[in-house]
């Protein structure tokens, strides 16, 4: 079996070049002083200080978190009942529904977002609301499918047992189905919240120039302002926030599973 481990060597090399090295580059740029395309090795923490000391950037961070939270909550509110209703359908119909939900996921996100831009031109809505619709639209299928997978995996016998023991439908739902679907809820939340926080295409296309989220900030600093050091610092901060949240959710998930 040891020989099998050798199969991993090429991939380890790949990771070193294409995953680790880029992160190291971002780290280097974030920790050094402005030199744009040339890395000047003057180490400093000023890029981070600049980010946290400026009220504007804090506001951008909060807006990103806020809209990501709203999107996630709504995807959950709309998605959970949908996933549950689908799980009550016949096997054939369930497959149909999952198929219907998966189809739009294959169409380029950019194309779908432009379509929404066209549709929303007919209405006079606040930018944040338009971005919210775009985000919920993009992430809803993921939430539904994650929850549905975990409900569908549930052992039917558990439900029968619950009914036999005298529980009515509501109680069964609350005490059996809901708790067992928690892993699905958690992975759904992960698949929605994190990409939503770092999203930059949807806010840019649907929100107009004055709707700036963290992802947009990074793009502005890299492409327009040419301040790669600051842009890298923001990237790093965002990556750390996300990695920390993922680690947290995985811990919660493990605890939930142990229970």
């Amino acid at each position: 079996m040891k020989s099998f481990f050798r199969m991993t060597y090429p991939y380890i090399l790949w990771i070193a070049v294409f995953i680790v090295a880029p992160m190291v580059m971002i780290l280097l740029y974030a920790l050094t002083r402005t030199g744009n395309s040339t890395l000047t090795f003057q180490f400093t923490l000023e890029n981070f200080a600049r980010f946290f000391s400026d009220a504007t950037f804090m506001r951008v961070l909060l807006t990103s978190l806020r809209i990501a939270l709203l999107t996630t909550v709504f995807c959950l509110l709309i998605g959970y009942p949908a996933a549950f209703f689908i799980s009550r359908l016949s096997e054939r119909r369930q497959t149909m529904m999952v198929l219907l939900l998966t189809l739009p996921m294959w169409i380029n996100m950019l194309l779908k977002t432009y379509a929404w831009r066209g549709i929303l031109l007919n209405f006079d809505l606040a930018s944040e609301f338009k971005v919210f619709i775009g985000m919920v639209y993009d992430f809803l299928p993921y939430m539904i499918i994650q929850i549905h997978t975990s409900i569908a995996k549930m052992d039917g016998n558990l439900l029968t047992a619950a009914y036999d023991l005298g529980a009515n439908k509501w109680k069964t739902f609350l005490k059996v189905i809901l708790p067992l679907s928690v892993p699905g809820i958690i992975s759904g939340i992960t698949l929605v919240f994190l990409p939503a926080v770092s999203s930059f295409v949807i806010p840019k296309l649907l929100g107009g120039g004055d709707y700036v989220l963290i992802g947009n900030l990074i793009e502005i600093y890299f492409l327009t302002a040419g301040d790669w050091n600051f842009g890298s610092a923001i990237s790093l901060i965002m990556a750390l926030i996300i990695i920390a949240s993922m680690w947290l959710t995985r811990k919660l998930d493990r605890n939930a599973q142990e229970e």
Binding site: N36, S37, A55, T56, R59, V60, G208, G209, D210, V212, L217, I220, Y221, F222, L223, T224, A225, G226, D227
Partner: protein, 347 residues
């Protein structure tokens, strides 16, 4: 399975090789900035293939250049050319091939960023100005106020502001009587406050090229636009009119250059010479709406029977001492970028 894989890989590697077989020219230009027919004609006449790529900002183009990407012809704006020349990223044009510079309008050649046109030849040019619905706003008011019209809360909710920090700050600088290239901290602060006032007064929608279709549809009454886009909009919506304000504005030139690392400089020069030919310049200018640098073409298109006859936006203003070109200034750009974010976020 393995055999299939290797065949597939070989086929894929051959694909780009097939492209290299023909002589290839890599052109990098703004989006919707050419008449495709011109490209087709060029390819046919010279028996070559043109790989045509698009960028939407000078900065984006510059970033791609940094990665050593090899283009043959690029069409950046004046201040970016200034920067590229400074950084030795361009090669001189072959004046044996690119000969016809006399037919160019005076306002576009021998400009400070490339005094002898050693490296660049103008492609299209423009000014920045006010586009307004003449049925909703009295032209006399626009002429009188100039840039200050953007401070008038009467137009609240009815205005578009172009999302470009350099152009927005230019408007503020000019309105306050400063140079658009100023590095004076007080002037920059004053301009920042002017823009904040503008944001609070008219609550504009910050857009980029969506402004074109929106103004054609008459969605709002007022917009900050480039003259070429204005010319196009006016040609599709007669109610619209253009004004280059009395306080002065930015006049800009987009020009063709050849990067130092171009793989096919000879063909690049031929392409540039081809574009300069009056028929081709006319086709491009008519299609896109921006002004041709060729004096005859300019006169023809704006004159009787021309596509842009009577169009107030087509021919950019020249010889007005308050109009300015942008200079390359990285520090200024970084500063303005950050301040602009704050303006947009209604700080």
């Amino acid at each position: 399975m393995k055999k299939l894989l290797s065949v597939l890989l070989v086929l894929c590697l051959l694909a780009p090789a097939a492209v290299l077989a023909d002589d290839v020219l890599n052109v990098y230009n703004w989006g919707e900035y050419i008449d495709k027919q011109v490209l087709t004609n060029f390819q046919k006449e010279y028996g070559v293939k043109v790989n045509y790529s698009l960028f939407s900002s000078n900065e984006e183009m510059y970033t791609k250049l940094l990665s050593n990407a090899s283009y043959d012809v690029i069409i950046p704006s004046d201040y970016m050319i200034e920067r590229l020349i400074k950084e030795n990223k361009l090669q001189p044009l072959d004046k044996g091939i690119v000969t016809d510079l006399d037919s160019l309008v005076d306002g576009v050649k021998n400009l400070p960023y490339d005094p002898d046109n050693t490296y660049s030849v103008p492609y299209l040019w423009q000014s920045v100005g006010i586009l307004y619905d003449s049925t909703k706003i009295d032209p006399a008011v626009v002429e009188e106020k100039g840039w200050d019209i953007f401070l008038d809360s009467e137009y609240s909710g009815h205005a578009y502001m172009y999302d470009s920090e350099r152009d927005a700050f230019m408007v503020a600088f000019k309105a306050l009587g400063y140079s658009a290239n100023t590095e004076n901290a007080d002037e920059i602060e004053a301009a920042y406050n002017w823009l904040r006032e503008m944001d609070k007064a008219i609550h504009p929608s910050y857009v980029t090229d969506e402004v074109i279709d929106a103004m054609i549809n008459g969605e709002k009454w007022l917009a900050l636009v480039y003259s070429g886009d204005a010319a196009y909009i006016i040609s599709e919506n007669e109610d619209m009119a253009y004004c280059a304000p009395k306080q002065g504005t930015n006049v800009a030139v987009d020009a063709m250059v050849i990067p130092a690392n171009a793989s096919n400089p000879e063909l690049a020069n031929k392409f540039i010479a081809y574009i300069l030919q009056p028929e081709n310049s006319a086709m491009i200018s008519e299609e896109v709406g921006y002004a041709s640098p060729n004096a005859d073409v300019l006169a023809e298109l704006s004159g009787p029977g021309g596509a842009y006859e009577g169009n107030s936006a087509y021919v950019p203003r020249t010889g007005y001492e308050k109009d300015e070109l942008f200079h390359d200034n990285e520090t200024l750009k970084k500063q303005l970028s950050e301040l602009w974010i704050k303006v947009k976020l209604h700080e």
